[in-house]
């Protein structure tokens, strides 16, 4: 089975969703990416990426009840699907395979 390909930001967002688990929603994903990678992505960019991985079937979304802290608006939370988890595992394997044989001076352990 051919797994969907992932861009750099898609991979980062997917990993963030996996880590945040039940708290994976737009603002939190953006905040978490900023903390971990130091890159301040626009909220719109995060949404575009979330929509792309949603369309690829790597995540599913659920809408919460309205929340006062968000001005009475609901929150859309994302959860990894089995396919999403498989794609992450595959990305990790590819990454490990690519790092094999890279000299220690480059940073390989």
């Amino acid at each position: 089975m051919n797994l969907p390909s992932l861009g750099e930001l898609e991979l980062a967002v997917l990993l963030t969703i996996a880590r945040l688990d039940a708290d994976a929603y737009g603002a939190n994903v953006r905040r978490s990416l900023l903390e971990r990678t130091g890159r301040d992505h626009a909220v719109g960019t995060i949404y575009t990426t979330l929509e792309r991985i949603l369309a690829k079937g790597l995540v599913v979304s659920t809408t919460s009840e309205p929340i006062a802290a968000r001005g009475g608006r609901s929150r859309r939370c994302f959860r990894l699907t089995n396919l999403g988890a498989q794609v992450l595992r595959n990305a990790r394997q590819v990454n490990v395979a690519l790092w094999k044989g890279v000299p220690a001076r480059v940073g390989a352990t």
Binding site: R31, V43, Y47, E51, R70, G71
Partner: protein, 209 residues
């Protein structure tokens, strides 16, 4: 008790009007409001305001592209159609306005045009003023028409329309930088108004149903 910081209503209004997709709007505004509160609490309200406006500006292009890609080929055709219609409105109003002005002047001055009653400089100043006025009307009308047709993203339609119109004027070899900025601003402002109006209309229809 902790007080919550909320974004300025005007900024939220603009953010909502610029959002291309109804289903994403609430989510987007909610996320922005939540982050705004964080920044206002940790830093200052001024920083939060700056951040909010910057986020809105940076999000327009990716969200517009997302809206267009989500709705398929029909949406792309609507988008192109909205820009073509907008350019048509601009040029119809501009040409009709300026030709009308010259004709009216000739009519008033008994066929002699500006030579009859007015110095050349004065006539040209009046014509320039009239052009600016016509340009504003044309920009507003075109932005509104384009935003109403360009369903996927009123804002994106307005931006492309503005760029297309300015490019046509530049290739025709006339206009000034200030004029272009004013023209673009009018088109964008008009698209915001049209977007907000369309959203209110949709909300009214939904509440009726």
């Amino acid at each position: 008790m902790t007080s919550r910081h909320t974004p300025p209503a005007s900024a939220e209004f603009v953010a909502g009007a610029l959002m291309p997709d109804d289903t994403l709007r609430d989510d987007f505004l909610g996320d922005l409001a939540e982050a705004y509160d964080d920044i206002a609490s940790c830093e200052s309200v001024r920083s939060a305001n700056r951040w909010y406006l910057l986020q809105v500006g940076r999000s327009v292009v990716p969200l517009s592209l997302l809206a267009i890609s989500r709705r398929g080929p029909l949406s792309a055709m609507q988008f192109v159609g909205s820009v073509v219609a907008g350019v048509g409105v601009v040029w119809t109003i501009m040409v009709a306005g300026i030709v009308g002005f010259v004709e009216l002047f000739v009519l008033i001055n008994g066929g002699d045009g500006y030579r009859g009653a007015m110095a050349v400089g004065e006539y040209l100043r009046l014509l320039a003023l009239w052009s600016v006025f016509t340009g504003i009307i044309a920009g507003f009308a075109a932005g509104f028409v384009s935003a109403l047709i360009g369903r996927p993203s009123a804002f994106a339609s307005a931006i492309v329309l503005g760029v297309a119109s300015v490019s046509l004027v530049v290739t025709a070899g006339s206009g000034s930088h200030t004029g272009f900025i004013v023209f673009m601003s009018v088109i964008v402002f008009s698209s915001i108004v049209a977007g907000a109006w369309r959203r209110m209309r949709t909300a009214a229809l939904v509440s009726c149903a």
